[in-house]
């Protein structure tokens, strides 16, 4: 390649790289500016009404004005009061108007302090005693919660919403998607308080213990944290409801590997309960609920077919060796 050709080639290469880079940047901008909504506003009759609240409560800030001086300034919206619209309209409560659950006085701004003491609905207030919700067993859930360690919290500040965000709730446990995301979202409920001193001390004066140190005994700790929910070990099982709400005191938690790592793994009645119920409807082999999932539980993933095959092969080998031995004994007696 001559010097001239080499320069021309270098220029062409530089031009190509620059063009490709600019195209990528342009595409990224395009993607971010035209991000599609995950919901269709027309599907929600209260959408327009809700905009009055959500223009502040989903934007991350609100504008505070002083009527005397006429000055106004932007203030950060506290995370607790921030409701991303995507989450809300994709949730089970997305069809509601804000004022279905909150006082209409919230339409006045700034909100009156007395509204902070407005009693919040609990799940049972709407879902209890209603035949259309009977399959979800809200009454049993309420009874379970009442006997849980959470209900014993001294200042009585604990309620459903400490774990279940009413503005983003989706019933993951009833979906046949036992992905890592499902476990993460469940554990996130616990970690909201148990992984944050800020949130924990709002509810308790107890010392917040480090999750990692407390679970030092667990082999492959990070794998367990990623694959199973805290409640697998930290709640009492109830076969009548899908997700146990009877959270146990720390010293009553399961501390025995074999409870999960065995043929009748407790996971079949907790993490895999929905799948077990579903697999009963169709034929399947033992512990298919776990096998279908992207995981493996030593001791619990057993196949009856493989057990039988291995026993048969072992049995036949032992029979062959016994017969061979008998002939050897007979031969040695002849000599």
């Amino acid at each position: 390649m001559t010097h001239k050709n080499y320069r021309a080639f270098s220029l062409l290469l530089a031009f190509l790289i620059l063009t490709i880079s600019l195209t990528v940047i342009a595409q990224e901008d395009e993607n971010s500016s035209t991000q599609a909504l995950k919901y269709n506003p027309e599907d929600f009759p209260s959408f327009e009404d809700n905009e009055f609240c959500l223009r502040c409560h989903s934007s991350g800030y609100f504008v505070l004005s002083d009527t005397v001086s006429g000055l106004s300034k932007r203030q950060a919206m506290c995370d607790n009061f921030n409701i991303p619209k995507d989450n809300y309209y994709m949730s089970v409560h997305g069809s509601f108007s804000c004022t279905d659950c909150h006082s209409s006085e919230y339409q006045n701004f700034p909100h009156a302090t007395s509204l902070r003491f407005e009693p919040a609905f609990a799940c049972i207030d709407c879902h209890g005693g209603d035949e259309s919700f009977a399959q979800y067993h809200f009454e049993e859930i309420d009874a379970e919660y009442a006997s849980s360690v959470h209900a014993q919290i001294e200042n009585g500040e604990f309620n459903c919403w400490k774990c279940h965000n009413p503005h983003a709730y989706v019933p993951l446990a009833r979906r046949d998607t036992l992905s890592i995301d499902f476990v993460v979202s469940s554990n996130q409920m616990c970690l909201t308080c148990h992984g944050s001193l800020e949130k924990f001390q709002l509810l308790s004066d107890k010392e917040l213990t480090g999750i990692v140190e407390k679970h030092d005994w667990l082999p492959n700790q990070s794998l367990h944290f990623k694959s199973i929910r805290c409640i697998e070990c930290h709640s009492a099982q109830n076969l009548d409801i899908l997700v146990s709400h009877n959270i146990l005191p720390a010293d009553s938690a399961i501390f025995d590997c074999v409870k999960c790592h065995s043929k009748n793994s407790v996971l079949m009645g907790s993490l895999y309960k929905f799948r077990v119920i579903e697999s009963r409807k169709s034929s399947g082999f033992l512990n298919a609920a776990i096998i279908d999932n992207n995981s493996y539980v030593i001791g619990a993933n057993r196949s009856e077919i493989m057990n039988l095959a291995s026993l048969l092969i072992f049995g036949l080998t032992l029979v062959a060796m016994t017969v061979h031995t008998l002939f050897r004994v007979k031969k040695s007696k002849k000599h």
Binding site: V258, N293, N294, I298, G299, R302, M306, M321, K330
Partner: protein, 205 residues
């Protein structure tokens, strides 16, 4: 006086002993984990997991001693399979074990310095040491680091398939161990082969 031949150099005897202890530990802890039960524990589950992991890692290291030993010493020649006429040789050896042995026929492949294994031994050692064990190492190490296992393969969970392959290979190795022990009793006397692997000297019969 029975002729003796120095068959097992020190490094093979050491490797064999380490291999035997680790394989037995792995089989016991593996069975204990696979068939764990809250009411009966062959070995405490947590202890079984630790012992299995430790023994698996140690066995991998010891395997490399065997692998390179075979590569760089004369011992490797016993593992070179001659494919031509293999089925006839295998049939002859099977016939000998099933019939000829009892009617005092001569062994079709008598042990000699050039012929350490009969064809059946050779093929089973090859399958165990160059197929089942490497597969056990690959799947075992993958289960130690499951984040590297692909999520799905043919619609099945990758980790589940890896574990099943590990279990099936573990089963074959345990079957191999039992047959290996039994066949070892068929030497000049029932215990002579066991003595050989300790002293290094093999009696010819």
């Amino acid at each position: 006086m029975t002729e003796q031949i120095y068959f097992y150099p020190v490094w093979i005897r050491l490797w064999h002993a380490v291999n035997a202890v680790l394989c037995i530990l792995l089989i016991f802890t593996g069975i204990s984990m696979q068939y764990s039960d809250p009411d009966f524990a062959l070995i405490n589950f947590g202890l079984a997991v630790s012992m299995h992991n430790f023994s698996g890692i140690a066995l991998t290291i010891s395997y490399f001693l065997f692998f390179f030993g075979n590569m760089f010493t004369a011992n490797g020649k016993y593992y070179r399979l001659k494919v031509e006429g293999l089925s006839i040789r295998l049939w002859k050896q099977m016939r000998y074990y099933a019939y000829g042995y009892f009617v005092n026929e001569e062994s079709p492949f008598p042990v000699s310095s050039q012929n350490k294994f009969n064809p059946l031994q050779q093929i089973s050692y090859l399958l165990a040491l160059y197929l089942a064990l490497p597969l056990l190492f690959i799947t075992g190490w993958a289960l130690l680091f499951p984040e590297f296992i692909i999520n799905k393969l043919l619609g099945f969970s990758g980790i589940f398939l890896t574990a099943q392959l590990h279990i099936v290979m573990g089963f074959f190795i345990s079957l191999f161990l039992i047959i290996h022990l039994y066949v070892s009793t068929m030497g000049a006397s029932p215990l002579s082969n066991f003595k050989s692997i300790v002293t290094g000297w093999q009696k010819l019969h």
